[in-house]
Amino acid sequence: MKTMIKSRIGDMWLRQEDLAANIPGRPDSAAEIAVCIKYIRDTWARASNAVGIDEKARNAILHARVVGSFANPVLVQLREQLQQRDELLTQQDTTISRLLAFVPAKALAVSDERLQAIVAEVGEIAASVFKGHNIKWSLSDEDDPESLACHRFTVVVEMTDKDDLEELVVAEMKLREQLVSSMSDKELRALRILVEYETLARA
């Protein structure tokens, strides 16, 4: 499974591999990308884990500026350091925003344990609705940039020319009806479940 890192934009998650991917047209060096990943992991994670830290830091900076305006040299120096840090943060933010424009947002990955439980459940429902058909399945990362899902579960149903396609389509719709009852909204967002028919399409 690919590594997920949380962005500060809404409830979105990003794949570290997508962020570091060599995307044509993106001018950033590998070192710059590595710095940004470290920044997202460390600074954003700290900010989101400790509520109020950002506010306190901002207040401290403001206070230091006020005191600094009356100023002895040490405070002036401190103010300059804070200003430099602010500039660095702004610069890193700009780089990160530019990087993010190239990276598709993803829903939070489902835990391995839950994923295995869902896989078992889907397998069971599929066996029931496609009774009499041989069924295979596969689990992979969802690489479609237009999908929020980060996992793809594909159910492959083997069929013959004698099978009634309409009955199979009704069965696959039943499968999805049962899934919406057993999976949460977050899981439905993170996991894309697709059905394919093995002998349906012929060249």
């Binding site: 309409e166 696959e172 999805r176 028919y197």
Partner: protein
């Protein structure tokens, strides 16, 4: 144009209009079937005053419908995702990127899915114009 005309066109393509290349007709039918269902869903949501940005409309439609409290709407939203996948395969996995051939069964499946999705969304909208998407969702 009524978006369901796309479904009518999908049916015409599925029946292989005279002189039209067969696989291209089948693939074209999958695309039209998807857009018929997708546009019906989008228009219902727009009519219910959900705001849309010019970009990311497919994701926005899927995201809203997923939050419906009506299980049929939720399930048909998954059908719509399946149909979108079929449409992507039919439109993009061609030429050098062909992974599988498309046959009449694929377009028949797309038409059946599209028809069910449209009927379900329209029926839900008659009962609740927001398609049972809770009031806190905007």
């Amino acid at each position: 144009m009524n978006p369901t005309d796309n479904l009518a066109l999908a049916r015409t393509l599925h029946d292989f209009p005279m002189g039209a290349p067969k696989e291209a007709s089948t693939r074209g039918a999958c695309g039209r079937a998807y857009y018929a269902a997708f546009i019906v869903a989008r228009d219902l949501l727009v009519k219910a005053k959900f705001p849309f940005q010019p970009r990311g409309v497919h994701q926005r439609v899927a995201d809203l419908l997923r939050q419906s409290t009506d299980k049929d709407v939720k399930a048909r939203n998954l059908d719509l995702d399946q149909l979108r996948n079929l449409r992507e395969q039919s439109d993009y996995e061609v030429g050098d990127k062909t992974k599988k051939g498309f046959a009449a069964g694929d377009s028949q499946r797309a038409i059946l899915l599209s028809n069910t999705i449209i009927t379900s969304f329209q029926t839900a909208a008659k009962k609740d114009s927001r398609l049972f998407i809770p009031a806190h969702v905007v």
